[in-house]
């Protein structure tokens, strides 16, 4: 995934015998070329997933036709608010982020982790688990890549490695997209996670005037582009075109920093992360936990849409005889009583204690555990909270009144 800053000269990547695009090169893809890209990925046996409009949201789904990409759709997001709106001027990827993230595919909501058989009264574990095709995801944002890097630390970075996650991760092909706009709920500029895509992709697209400047991020990306270029000639981006493409997310980042609250408009979010670990661990008995608990429904939506939340529990699925059993891991949430259940009761019996667990884990405990914050600034937890609880607002409230103490009930 090494990248070098040497854009190819004009014409370098045309199919007429000239060299193929290499890692670090930039080429132009037309909208029509997206279908060739999908075909090339599928041709290699991959399952291809991309953003599509379904159930009034942009979600990741299996993608066969480039025409199904959400061209001309804009998402309006605010606390507890998500609406899609047609905008004929909008490009293919001018929505921001929907409820899905890479987590839905790398760490699926349900997964078989082991199979067991009882024969002649003796249990044993079977070796085989169902194979899965390698996965390619198109339309991944900087915050999604950041979320992936965080989950990598959880499932691959410790003493124990999760075998299913590793299998899917190693074969994962990522077509990233640089955002051209930010929702009011987006605050990746303040977490250092975006909006510019900078590393960790195979191909990265920057939409410019109805076509895409495509940066090659890996050998695998170059190989897939070579398949595309066998079907159509691909023009290399010029130095100036690469600079302009690079400048686009940089300009968005500046604009996000300059955002001001305007009457009648959703409030633009940002998160002050300075000293946040100690701030939160020093305020475990702050009255704000009770205050937010009076609004929180403990519905688990924030943990479901969060690209990094990784808690899970394991269930047993037996056949009728009881002799063949599958163990199924499924997502768990710290907002449920079951999460901290012990000897028939829950350690975290109040909503205040459960919200505190979620927020302090995400922004403080994570730093101890994995050397990184668990928050990418994607804003999904704000948008998909039915009552619009805002993680940035909760942190700001504690920061403003740090030191107050009141034990949660």
């Amino acid at each position: 995934m090494q990248r070098e800053n040497h854009p190819a000269g004009p014409g370098r990547c045309q199919v007429d015998g000239s060299p193929q695009a290499a890692v670090g090169d930039w080429v132009w893809l037309n909208v029509a070329d997206l279908q060739l890209l999908i075909d090339a990925l599928r041709h290699d046996g991959r399952r291809v997933v991309g953003p599509q409009v379904a159930d009034a949201a942009v979600v990741y789904r299996d993608l066969e036709r480039a025409a199904d990409l959400p061209r001309g759709w804009i998402d309006e997001q605010d606390g507890g608010h998500y609406r899609l709106r047609r905008d004929e001027a909008a490009g293919v990827f001018d929505h921001v982020v929907g409820p899905h993230s890479l987590k839905n595919f790398l760490f699926p909501a349900r997964e078989t982790i082991g199979r067991f058989l009882r024969e002649d009264g003796t249990w044993r574990q079977l070796d085989d688990l169902p194979p899965e095709p390698p996965l390619a995801v198109i339309g991944v944002r900087a915050c999604d890549l950041a979320g992936l890097a965080i989950q990598d630390r959880v499932f691959l970075g410790g003493e124990s490695v999760d075998p299913g996650y590793r299998r899917r991760r190693e074969s994962l092909f990522l077509v990233a997209v640089n955002c051209r706009r930010a929702a009011a709920t987006c605050f990746c500029h303040s977490t250092g996670c975006g909006p510019a895509v900078s590393a960790g992709f195979d191909l990265a697209l920057t939409e410019r005037d109805g076509r895409f400047a495509c940066e090659v991020g890996s050998e695998r990306g170059a190989a897939v582009l070579a398949t595309v270029s066998a079907a159509t000639s691909l023009l290399a981006c010029s130095h100036d075109e690469v600079s302009a493409a690079r400048g686009q997310p940089a300009a968005l980042e500046q604009a996000m920093h300059a955002r001001q609250e305007e009457a009648g408009q959703p409030k633009p979010r940002s998160l002050n992360t300075e000293g946040i670990r100690d701030l939160l661990f020093d305020n475990l008995e702050h009255p704000r936990w009770e205050e937010v608990a009076s609004r929180c429904l403990s519905c688990t939506n924030c943990t479901l849409v969060c690209p990094t939340c990784f808690c899970s529990s394991v269930g047993e699925v037996a056949d009728l005889s009881g002799d063949a059993v599958e163990r199924e891991r499924h997502w768990a949430s710290c907002f449920t009583l079951d999460h901290a259940r012990m000897h028939g009761t829950s350690v975290r019996s109040s909503t205040a204690s459960r919200y505190r667990q979620w927020l302090t884990h995400k922004l403080a405990g994570w730093i101890d555990q994995f050397g990184t914050s668990g928050c990418t600034g994607c804003g999904r937890c704000i948008t998909w909270c039915p009552v619009g609880i805002d993680i940035t607002e909760e942190v700001a409230a504690i920061r403003d009144t740090a030191g107050q103490k009141e034990s949660p009930a």
Binding site: I113, G114, F116, R118, G121, T122, W123, R124, Q125, V154, F155, G158, E159, S160, V161, D162, P163, F281, L284, E285, F310, C311, S312, S313, V314, E316, A318, G322, V325, R327, R329, A332, C334, D338, H339, A340, R341, M342, H343, G344, V347, R348, S349, S350, A352, S353, R356, Q357, T360, H361, A364, G365, I367, D368, Q369, G371, S407, P408
Partner: protein, 299 residues
């Protein structure tokens, strides 16, 4: 960033590879310790697994009953004989109730060992005080086995065991053997039931009170002592505070925590306690590392 845990240099860990990989064990024997609490003597079916298995006192295994569920259970047998695993279990839930219905000869699945051990190896020459509340003694029995064998390496070894009632005292038939090995063993049961007389229970002529009462009376409790404690959180906090008041360093007080757990390898998130994962950062923690979090209710 991680709170330092005082572990010996080499800690047996579950084999690398799939953390969900488990091994078949057969129940060789079942001992009813006290009402509702049984000790299961387990052996691996696979000889190679049995030969390769090692554990240290304080570590735990995940016991899996396919179709029922899995539970984290301390290893309660002698680490010198690791192919022969004892687990003392109270029937209090789905998995442990189903385990209580199993008979010798039946099989279940086991994966482990997991977690860090009691810090015995680098504490030779010190006064070792084990304090257990109720079933907490099960997590210390492996340490007691080891300390009994290596008694001469320590200045003193004391076991303080408290329970709600005399019937809650564990491993009482082993007290004599522990004492013969040079361990000091004292037990106590909770105060008299409401409306009752001075005795907590008919037929009980031992001490009545809290395990901290025994700790207060311990003359060897000083800066030379290391306290290893397992029991309910409030009991462990009380033990730690008593020990600190008596001159024991907060870094020399070790508590074994218990939390909900599904994976035992820092992946499922269920066992979080403040910034730590009880499964792999613990379950044994220096009091100094977790004191501020123990003080917060419902954490």
């Amino acid at each position: 960033m991680m709170p330092a845990v005082g572990c010996p240099a080499v800690v047996p860990t579950a084999p690398a590879g799939d953390p969900w990989r488990s091994h078949t064990v057969r129940i060789e024997g079942i001992v009813e310790e006290i009402p509702g609490v049984r000790t299961y003597d387990l052996r691996f079916l696979d000889e190679a697994v049995a030969r390769g298995y090692r554990f240290a006192p304080g570590q735990f295994n995940m016991l899996h009953l396919p179709g029922i569920g899995e539970a984290a259970i301390s290893i309660s047998s002698d680490p010198a004989d690791p192919a022969r695993l004892a687990h003392t279990v109270r029937a209090v839930g789905n998995v442990t109730d189903a385990l209580a219905r199993l008979q010798p000869g039946e099989t279940l699945m086991l994966r482990g060992p997991f977690g860090g051990p009691w810090p015995l190896a680098d504490r030779t020459g010190r006064d070792i005080v084990l304090v257990a509340g109720g079933l907490g003694l099960a997590s210390q029995r492996a340490a007691i086995c080891e300390l009994a064998r290596q008694r001469s390496q320590y200045a003193s070894v004391t076991v303080l065991h408290g329970a709600k009632e005399p019937a809650g005292l564990l491993y009482t038939c082993e007290y004599r053997a522990w004492q013969e090995a040079g361990l000091e063993v004292r037990s106590i049961v909770d105060g008299p039931p409401a409306g009752g007389g001075a005795a907590a229970s008919p037929g009980w002529d031992g001490r009545v009170g809290l395990v901290t009462d025994l700790l207060e009376e311990l003359t060897i409790l000083s800066g030379q002592a290391t306290v290893l404690c397992c029991g309910p959180d409030p009991m462990m906090t009380a033990v730690a505070r008593t020990a600190i008041r008596r001159g024991v360093a907060a870094e020399e007080i070790f508590l074994s925590l218990e939390r909900n757990m599904a994976c035992a390898v820092r992946h499922c998130g269920l066992c979080q306690f403040g910034p730590v994962f009880v499964c792999q950062d613990g379950p044994v923690f220096p009091f100094a590392a977790i004191e501020r979090f123990l003080a917060v209710a419902h954490l």
